[in-house]
Amino acid sequence: MEIPYIFTPRKDTGLVNSKIAIWLFLASEVMLFGGFFSAYIFLRLGADYPWPERTLPVLPGLINTFVLIGSSVTVIFAWMSLKLRKWRQFQIFMAITVVCAGIFMVLKGIEYNVKFHHQAVRLKDYAILEGHLGFELKEGVHVGHGEQPKEEDFALNHHGKKIEEDTINYSTSEVSFNTVRYHHDWVEEIIAHAEAGGTAVTLKEDVVMGKGEQVKVDKDGNTEPATTPLSRADNFAKGSALSMKLLERITELHKDARAHNADLRITAFRKAWTVADENSSGKTDRQLAPDVKIDESQLDLHHEQPAIAFTVAPETVFHFRPRDIQENGSPATLRDGTALTGKLEESPMVFHYVDALDFRYLALKVRQKLGVDEHSDAADGAIEKAIEESWVMAKNPELKEIWEKQQKAVGLLAAELAAHKRVPTEKDKYRINWQEMAYYATTPLADIKIDAGKYVMPHVDTQPKEQFFGPNYEGRAEQHAFPHLEIPREQVAFASKFAPAWNTYYAIYFTMTGLHGLHVIGGALVLAYYLFFGKKMYLSNPEWLANRVEVGGLFWHFVDLVWIFLFPILYLM
């Protein structure tokens, strides 16, 4: 079939059809991104917390801007090369464009990855701490102060991954699984943990699901006596060991019993209903209902086992992720309905490195409480008092010292700015970022000074690598740049990685850059297709390919255009 108006313009529109199509698509894209920009403004104006302005490292964003602008130029040159029928030149320019897209996505990936591994926590008193959590060590392993644990010292979960020191530790004497809802992964975790610690997790009572011979099951699913294999067993002795196979078998029998019992009940109800209906003509359904009764003792109901209880001996501490605990009492319940009997142990959140301390939210709350305008300094004294009384200041002398040094630096900055009738920002006053923290941690109070004429808080110099991957924790740990901090669970108000859950800034940041990133990938795929599979079309009809590249290029320019706005609003404002 011949497609009309692919390389000759239509008379009435003066355009080739593909161009109209791409402009229609771009118009819809403008509306799509317009909606998200609107959401950004809405979230920013309505934020009930200090908006984290200028919080992302600028260098990766700047490089990405250059990369996209550069690729916009090369995609034009690729199109021009086709128009001039220079295939080799087209290949080179298009290859550069596609490589630029790759660089963009790699940098974006690094940026995302750093965020996903960076921990934030808001305390009950609205102080915010940022940094990296430590990892759980194997039981019995102790690492001396100032020493780094070795790789083999870390405890691993059943996926073989290190466990962050952000667990709810529950000393468990009994665990009861919900027969149909238990989460496979968490049971595996309990089995692996029990096995590593030599703990026995065994059936608390006999579970009699049928009339078969009673068997005792070991942790590998072997039965004793072996004449009835687990796949056919229906009567399990107290003391059988917890295993996935045993749970799955009981679940199977439970579901069979539920189905069987439901059938019997429904049949009995139908019968009772028919009898009631026949006996009382003229009654409505509602009037009939009280007469419909079934005697369950007359039915051959099978045993149902909605929960399966296991005894844990000796009492053992299991670790759960905070978000997996649904109710924290005795028994405590997990999100999959598992009930734990025992008691909650201390479950601190342990920061291996605190790399930022932020009191802006606390300041906002103090002002709100006193009814003081956000730009007024009337509440400064009260804010200072609240900070001094905050949990971090009271409990961590290292961070307190850093805060005191920061106070001196703020004084110096304020004096410098006063000459220009300016004042330090909220960020200067109430936030200590990692470069500043590393500076204060390694500089004695008497030596604190600021660079004249630069109007910035004192900070350590950043190595190029740190601009992309965040602070070099291990390198800077030798100077004790980042304090260690243990936060009791009851002080934690909200904790999250720097993911969309942390606040609306990160939510809209990930939404907009993620959507934009998908456009980069899509555009790059189309352009790469022209690059690698365009030769045949070039030889048969070069004008057609040139039009295709122009259309692909228009989309690519649009992707660049969106980034031109995203870069300042997310990185610089």
Partner: protein
Amino acid sequence: MAGDSPEAIKKAVRLYLLIGAVLFGGTLLTVAVAMVPWLDFGQHGFDTADLCIGLAIATVKATLVALIFMHLNHERRLVYWLFGFGLVAAFFLVALIGLAKWDPIHYNGFKTGVPGSEHVVPFKENR
């Protein structure tokens, strides 16, 4: 299209390079306005002045991309209608925020209704 002859294309090379350079320069300027002290307009740190300058530069850059790279400076009328429609629709999407702000029933200073985030009331009046 008029500007598509090989001669016209060869002429355009310098223009494209120039616009590319302007875009690079504009990006550096945006970053400088945000980070260099003597280019910090308005108050110290980020404020409305920085916001306006940053967005103005971005708008100029975006306009150049649209006009030159996307050839909107010499395009058929239909394209203007199509893209213009998208822009106007996007403008109304952004303008929708105004409805939230001017809502006479529910406007409470853009706060979210989370406890503790209520519109700030002076302490004396509160009692």
